[in-house]
Symmetry: C2
Subunit: 212 residues, 2 copies
Amino acid sequence: MNTIITIGRQYGSGGREIGRKLADSYGIPFYDKELLKIAAKESGICEEMFEDYDEKPTTSFLYSLVMDPYSFGFHGGSFEIPLSQKVFLAAFDAIRKIAGQGPFVIVGRCADYALKDLDNTFNLFIQAPFAFKHDRIRDEYHIPEEKIRNHAEHVDKQRASYYNYYTSRKWGDATTYDLCLDSSYLGIDGTVELIRQAVALKEGSLWNNQDQ
Amino acid sequence: MNTIITIGRQYGSGGREIGRKLADSYGIPFYDKELLKIAAKESGICEEMFEDYDEKPTTSFLYSLVMDPYSFGFHGGSFEIPLSQKVFLAAFDAIRKIAGQGPFVIVGRCADYALKDLDNTFNLFIQAPFAFKHDRIRDEYHIPEEKIRNHAEHVDKQRASYYNYYTSRKWGDATTYDLCLDSSYLGIDGTVELIRQAVALKEGSLWNNQDQ
């Protein structure tokens, strides 16, 4: 197995659980928040900054200038890019670096875009109807019942703005991904199984082509 | 096999070929333009009308009133809905009627929406990068090289407006479908095989649940 699997996902859709189960089934690394630690270590930027900016939309240039004193500044006459973008670029570098070490599964962080020049990526998007996400969000994140819908919409909006800002693609649009799945259709384990079958078909056809 | 497969697709992505191969592999009916014949026969509206309005965006109310003399009118004091919408509704009825006769594969025509109350549908969207579609469009539809990109964009725009007008969903958005596939990732036959495996997983899990 030599495929790097990237997963974009709606909040509550089970994308992370699917990613972890995929990685476990192949015995390869899984990166979600783990990536932030690596990016912090590699870049020297403190880890809290990565958590603060993680998959949150960057503010506009003017907003940064006025409202966000530590993200932006002129120092000794030289212009600095906003911290939010430095943090993004450090995460980007970390993703590319781990891609040199073999296959893995990664969730979010525009990883599909960071790795767009590789030919062994498999880019997925996981979504689900609200009723399915609702129960998962209630049970896993313990969000109060009355706040679940707004919270889910808010997180997805942040993920979409973050993704759309940093890439030239559209989050959640079918054309952005190799495969998009409604995780409620086959359930979490059925979805994992279908993705494994897709990887097997892809790697099988590559071997067949090499044989010819 | 008891699943009705509906396929939305970008122009040139191979959605129709995938649909036909799926139907052939299961020995079930395949409907693309064939649906229009059935809808014409059932409704008594002449078949050419179905072809004229097939997956094309309806014009707005005011535009119909001014520009489209035969689609719209007051007759004997009674108000008539535009012909474009009558034709859509007749196609809708035809789709629902064939759904009572067993599984099939259907391409386009908002079939997923027409059948949204059934629980044995599997709603797919097929797309592909432009380079893949380009070669298929050149070879299959014989569109002159310099017109391929504009023509493909135009047809997809029409399909999107038609779909978005008649349904409460968004054409090409991952959340609209159970499964979206980039047909260039596994190729046409690999994509057919993956869809067959998804159907097998779904029907297998349904049997398992019934056994419990």
